[in-house]
Amino acid sequence: MKTTFSIGGIHPNDSKISKDCKIEVLPLPEVVYVSMAQHLGAPATPVVKPGDTVKTGQVIAEPAGFISAFVHSPVTGTVKSVGPRKDLAGNNVTHVEISVEPDQWAEGIDTSDTLVVEIPQDNKFILDRIKACGVVGLGGATFPTHVKLCPPPGKKADCLILNGAECEPYLTSDYRIMLERSKEIIVGAAIMKQVLGGCRTVIGIEENKPEAIKVMSESLAELQKTAKGFDGIQVMSLKKKYPQGGEKQLIDAVMKRQVKSMGLPIDVGAVVQNVATSLAVYEAVQKNKPLITNVMTITGDCLPMERQHNYLFRIGMPLSYIAQVAGGVPESAAKIVSGGPMMGKAISNMDACTVKGSSSLLYFTDEQTRRKEASACIRCGKCADACPMGLEPFLLNKYARNGMMEELEENAIQDCIECGCCLYSCPANIPLLDVIRIAKGDVIRIIRGRAAAAKK
């Protein structure tokens, strides 16, 4: 019996056009620009200055707070400048500019492809490695992984969930790594499982990826036969439904537990990590390889089959460079999105560079993306049916437009996960999420302010 989350959800066409494109390694550009804000939390502080020579994998920025992460040089070369540059939304972020020379890896990094199955026993060593290698969650939020793997005192993880749902249409990068790097992902999962105290581990994959389920199950069985530390890991097939990859939805689907409003997954004993994060953990712990690469999908309905790609990129590569290597931007593309079509962001600046969490370049035609004119709400309730958090978006929209903060809080606007199901399902094309997202930020600020005042 396949499971899924209990409320709401939608079924967009999954359009996994590039699923059969093998992962290709992108050639290096002449210059890379490495952003200091590649993770949730405080931007990292650069520790290099113009003129310095850096090796691939060398630390170039240190965390600037508890929730922050190391940033490493993705290339070997000379630092040309450290200064503001525009990110993909056009806002200024500090970048380190490095001119590229032939690759020379920093010392102590294992660049071979050999699979290392033996897991180190010292948990502190593992967490230090994860932190030192700058590993962040690659499922979208880029939350520093070492913080997530240290549950606050008094809370214990009952289940580690590996997120292989990849419920966003078009994206195939997680799918490809599950096919091509399955064993590494499972070893990464076993490492995190050990750090969390040997809890049950579930790798959740949606049923529309039967190949991935098959390969992952086979690799798991093989590892369980030949090595220790892989008991209690299972692959679970999930029904296809968006947003299955949402943290709270996945916990509901796998564990049948609901995270309370404003709560964290650890409150119900769950830790959720993306499969790509698991791979990064494997590389960090077993190979001492910092997180400087990730896989991204270049796709779109307007791209011919031979121009669909899954690329292994390094951080700091300009998006325009990647688009050009991939055969250029198609004529009919009217909008380029980074991330999935449901939650991703449109790119207004193609000179922006890849970051740890980059997952795609999606090309959409004008017809596919232009918003239709909004008409009046007829209270059909489709948005409320679709909301996976059980909210009533039509009501929140109305309150938000009138600035009714108390009512918004009573109706749990702070629980919105910004998945876009309401917007997708609205027959009147009302920009529900646009309005709700802003009001949600306001309400959360009010709640935090109140909590801070209560502490004093």
Partner: protein
């Protein structure tokens, strides 16, 4: 029939009398002593309840005035000095006259000066737009043009100019309540001194990018060259983060900086026009004639 009417009237009358007595006693018992001056002060206030003074409304402001030992921290921007003088009279306090202020839009990124690089098709609100990206032009600091300031203004002093895509302040209607300043997510609008005979000089740009970047994004951008600061005899101009700022308390309206600015980012408004001079600086922010459509930028950079 007659009896019913009489009874009804009698009962209602008695009931009314009893309830009136109850209400009287309750009001007597639970009476809240309020300073009578609060009502007196509230009467002289404009009654717009705009919140420009920082209080929740005119009554709250009146209460604030009465409770404050002096009126130094109280100012009703809508009523201005006249009203504050009346408030001071009521309370028997002294008040210093403040310079009248006006909202100033510090962006001259008209459609002509600042070509579009992408197209925004989302919800028409500056706050929503600002949360998604830096804007549909190369400038990540300037006006977003969705008119949040216009809807925030309770006095009808702001309007969008369809030709420039920028808000225009009607200085006669503007009360400097500051609602637009708060509404603008980019902090484009500033409250500045209205100036002698309404004449004022200000830098109509807040772009902190380096000169070349700023210039590329907008023809009328401040490039932070510092020429204005050098030429200013009163040290009223500071250049910080590639951006000049004129301190309106120090500016003596000599307009030397206006003539010096290479991009025309410094605006002087309401100065009398002297016709014979060949190259008199434009007295008002130049309103671009119907701007030709910007050369089709890369079609890819469109934004939801």
């Amino acid at each position: 029939m007659t009896q019913t009417i009489i009874w009804t009237i009698a009962i209602i009358t008695i009931l009314g009398a009893v309830l009136a007595v109850v209400l009287f006693l309750v009001a007597k018992k639970f009476k809240v002593e309020e300073d009578p001056r609060i009502d007196q002060v509230e009467k002289v206030l404009p009654g717009a309840n705009c919140g420009g003074c920082g209080q929740a409304g005119c009554h709250a402001f009146a209460q604030h005035c009465v409770e404050s030992p002096d009126l130094g921290a109280c100012f009703c921007p809508v009523g201005g000095n006249d009203v504050m003088q009346k408030v001071a009279d009521v309370l028997g306090l002294k008040v210093e006259a403040k310079d009248p202020m006006v909202a100033v839009v510090r962006c001259n990124g008209t459609c002509e000066n600042r070509p579009r690089t992408s197209e925004y098709g989302g919800y028409a609100s500056c706050r929503v737009k600002a949360s998604l990206y830096s804007g549909d032009t190369g400038c990540s600091f300037g006006c977003l043009g969705c008119g949040d300031c216009v809807s925030a203004c309770s006095f009808g002093a702001l309007s969008m100019d369809p030709q420039t895509g920028l808000p225009v302040v009607d200085q006669d209607k503007c009360t400097a309540c500051g609602a637009c300043v708060k509404a603008c997510p980019k902090n484009v609008i500033e409250l500045r001194k209205k100036g002698r005979k309404d004449m004022r000089v200000f830098v109509s740009c807040i772009n902190k990018d380096k000169g070349a970047v700023a210039r590329k994004a907008c023809k009328a951008a401040c490039i932070g060259c510092g020429k204005c600061a050098k030429v200013c005899p009163f040290e009223a101009i500071t250049v910080e983060n590639n951006l000049a700022y004129i301190d309106f308390n120090k500016c003596k309206l000599c307009k030397k900086c206006v003539a010096e600015c290479p991009t025309g980012a410094i605006h002087a408004v309401n100065f009398p026009v002297i016709p014979p001079k060949p190259a008199a600086p434009a007295p008002k922010p130049a309103v671009a004639p119907a701007a030709p459509e910007a050369p089709a930028a890369e079609p890819v950079k469109k934004e939801e």
